[in-house]
Subunit: 192 residues, 2 copies
DNA sequence: CGATTCTTTGAAAACAGTCAATCTGTGTGG
DNA sequence: CCACACAGATTGACTGTTTTCAAAGAATCG
């Protein structure tokens, strides 16, 4: 499974075989069955996590027991809770597997070490952070500007490739809609 | 006005007098009157902008003419459109002054140069990016999870110091609510 | 003071959420 | 292999929230 991560890195930047070994030395593969947790609310998140295979979701459960999905993470995506990692505070989020999943974990100390010792790796991580930020800006825009139907259309355009791997009620949760509303939005859209 | 920026940098990291000079050499101060634009929709955004004094807002105007505020930027905040800056694409956003404002601008080439030549500056910028990302995650959470009233309360908690400098209809726009709804939410909250 | 911007209020309509029931497909254990 | 359980999707009726439109009050600024 490390090869998937290596291929990802090579698609973004160039590192030496030696550097690849350094990364491999601190990488841990964790396998998750469907519905298994990677992070549970209340725990401190201590890793950087790269999804090699499968599908994860990060979400919060509110007082009423409703789930609100913060992120989806299929292969070649990162997941975790940056705030908990940074401040070493208990996370309000859960992360679990939608499909059987293989994640690559690197703990904080080792990860920061890699960033310090491998400039190309550091640059790659910063570029990813930059991109993530831009993506989150787009999502904010959608969340405050769009109607239910527009949100769904925007989601389809943004993630055309993974839509069929996600149960609809989770898409609804990601968009801040009830599952029933999303269902109705879809049937109305078909009529047009 | 450069001193404000220098004080900001010194509060985050340590740089030499020489490095401070390098930064000063590429900094341009721009003064904006109330309602004056810093960026207009359709233009490419080419700077990093630090607010020394005053108050800016970044927003999008949709087909119906409704404004949706992406960000507020008072003193010691950054503003701009990262996506436009990164990809050199026309920005869908406008940025204008809510109050008379002094912004410090550094164009992309010079800024990247500073990041390369001054490691402490580069680290500072990455830390800020990290923080911005965390803040945007929180905002996404609020946008998809909260009711109108909760959104307003959350806003008050997050920005207690600047609330009274922003017209209410702009807060509504930032939260994805109509001005009328926010007005009603407020009067109801007073009753409790 | 007059003009403009901002906020509030009211009534109606549109929109989205809730609850409950039904329908569908999938997979598991007997 | 079938029956059953279970997760997911849909539908209907209802409730509640939010928007829209229009108008009237504040507040601010030149």
């Amino acid at each position: 499974m490390f090869e998937v991560f290596l291929a990802y890195i090579n698609s973004k930047t160039k590192i030496t075989a030696e550097e690849a070994e350094m990364i491999k030395a601190v990488s841990v593969i964790k396998k998750l069955r469907k519905r298994q947790y990677l992070l549970q609310e209340g725990d401190v998140w201590r890793y950087n996590a790269f999804v090699c295979k499968g599908f994860l979701r990060a979400y919060h459960v509110d007082d009423k027991g409703h789930e609100h999905i913060m992120n989806f993470a299929p292969e070649n995506y990162w997941t975790g809770d940056r705030e908990s990692l940074q401040n070493e505070t208990p996370s309000p989020f859960n992360i679990d597997a939608i499909e059987e999943t293989h994640v690559l974990l690197i703990n904080k100390e080792n990860f920061d070490d890699l960033c310090r010792k491998i400039p190309a790796f550091n640059d790659m991580i910063n570029t990813i952070l930059q991109r993530s930020f831009i993506a989150s800006q787009r999502r904010i825009h959608a969340a405050i500007s769009f109607s239910a139907e527009e949100k769904y259309q925007h989601f389809l355009n943004t993630f055309p490739n993974i839509v069929n791997r996600i149960p609809q009620h989770m898409i609804a949760s990601y968009l801040g809609l009830s599952p029933e509303t999303l269902s109705r939005v879809r049937t109305q859209a078909v009529k047009k």
